[in-house]
Amino acid sequence: MKQKRLEATQGYIYILPSLILILSFSIIPIFMSGVFSFTEYNVMNSPKFVGLENYEKVLRDEYVRAALVNTLKYVLITVPIQTALSLTFAAFLAVKMQNKSGEFLRSVMFIPVIASAVTSGTIWRTILGTDGGILNSIIGIFGFDPVNWLGDSKTSLISICIVAIWKNVGYFLVIFYAGIMDIPKSLYEAARVDGANTYQQFFRITLPMLKPITSLVVTLGIIWSFQVFDLSYQMTGGGPGYSSVTIVMAIYNAAFKQYKMGYACAMAMLLLVIVLIINAVKQRVFGEKED
């Protein structure tokens, strides 16, 4: 009995520092955010209860709608492409290049992960410059007209997506590669005996075995994509027009430019709901249990 109490005390002590931090900077703030979303609050004066007004406004706000649509587009473009690319590259390197040069290629592709999003955005902003930017010069050699990458509402968001994919592939590649390496070799040998070619091996063994990892990559990709801010802040500032505004940027603007903390919290709650829904859908798709 005494032993049990001692163990419990020890347990609490071990988790205490972490628990304090999680409580005060994750859990309590979620509830605060919920409460603030029903108020009008500009930080200087005390919050004023306004009921559902913020939510009504958020749903009617065109700026928020543009931000939502852009963010969804961003998720739908980046997540599938970066997952497919990193999986393909990982599978290719695992099958064909388990050697020094393959290792070198992997470490090169990891470099964009090391640079911060702000650094990447800064570099790509100059590369994608319209008049005389290096990418337009390069495509000019092949006879294409210069593209107004960041200055046109049709291409600004896509440009940001491309940079995001460029930055993320290396990260997921490393994860996929490790996952492929973990698959027992005997499975492949058995398949080869049965006469399966490389593609059949990929679709019948690699892909099913990688399911938990793919699920993780997709989840991480979606969560990161919904939080996109740095790249569009640095590359376009949300423009031109509303063409590359994201949800987080809308939250940031409402809170720290327009001083409407309550309104921003309502948007944040909206973001939370969307992420939770997507998570639930994902668990269905990948057939995971709730736990």
Partner: protein, 273 residues
């Protein structure tokens, strides 16, 4: 699964991989070249490049506060890595190896917080930090890096630490904290490295929170300083690229020397997380 036959499609695949690898480094080479020019136009002319001219770098360090920003970033990153490891490994040990009432309930709460994007809690956290007078401190920059992810990661690894080993140590009269420090920590070293790498990347990348919470230019981190450089020197591309280079070079050097740890760390966080 290895297949050394080179068919047409696999050569195409190789080409694709190589092209992608080139696009992964080309922008950084471009950045370095640009940072040695005085260019105010986007076009990079070879005759503009002067590798002995460090004036952009000295401007960035001396007049744009990159020296302080670099220092802040390094302090914040190192402390985040250290404290995250300490806090997370303690908690993971508690959750995995100690039985106490409410254990799984609290743990599930941790898991749930992982689904909440940081931006949802940003405004209340800003208000809390403001009330505590902690804005513009290293504390506020570090503490938000520490989240439930580390606990989840380490706990899944901690399950592999055999209970018998700990029991045996206890029977031998080894005090509790020594069991943790001398037995458990060495056993979970790979996952700690993984957590350090992960924390390093997140914390070096961190932008929104430092942007919001620091008003004192002495407290800016590199990401904030770099984004402000853009607004101040819009078309002075040489200078901006020098700033980007400074913010890139430190993690890059670290990566070159600790490549294996980086790659394995990320891989492990994927397999275990």
């Amino acid at each position: 699964m290895e297949n050394k036959k080179w068919t047409v499609s696999s050569v195409l695949g190789l080409l694709l991989v190589i092209v992608f690898a080139i696009t992964c480094i080309a922008p950084f080479i471009y950045m370095i070249l640009m940072s040695f020019t005085k260019s105010t136009t986007l076009t990079l002319r070879m005759q503009d490049i002067n590798f002995s001219d460090f004036s952009n770098f000295s401007h960035v360090f001396n007049k744009s506060g990159f020296f302080g920003a670099l220092k802040n970033s390094i302090i914040v990153v190192c402390c985040s890595c250290f404290f995250n490891c300490v806090v997370a490994s303690m908690a993971a040990y508690g959750f995995e190896k100690k039985r106490f009432p409410g254990r799984e309930k609290i743990y599930n709460m941790y898991v749930a917080t992982m689904m909440v994007p940081g931006q949802v809690t940003m405004i209340p956290v800003f208000i809390i930090m403001k009330k505590l007078g902690l804005l513009n401190t290293y504390f506020s920059l570090i503490v938000l890096i520490i989240n439930a992810f580390g606990v989840l990661l380490i706990r899944s690894f901690m399950a592999g630490v055999p209970d018998e080993l700990l029991e045996a140590a206890k029977v031998d009269g080894c005090p509790e904290h020594k069991i943790f420090i001398n037995i458990v920590l060495p056993l979970i070293k790979p996952v700690l490295i993984s957590l350090i790498v992960f924390t390093f990347v997140t914390s070096w990348n961190d932008f929104l929170w430092p942007l919001v919470s620091t008003t004192d230019s002495d407290m800016y981190t590199l990401t904030v300083a770099l984004s402000l450089l853009k607004t101040q020197y819009g078309t002075n591309y040489g200078l901006i690229m020098a700033g980007a280079a400074v913010s890139f070079i430190f993690p890059f050097i670290l990566y070159v020397f600790l490549q294996k740890q980086f790659v394995e760390g990320i891989a492990l966080s994927g397999v275990k997380g």
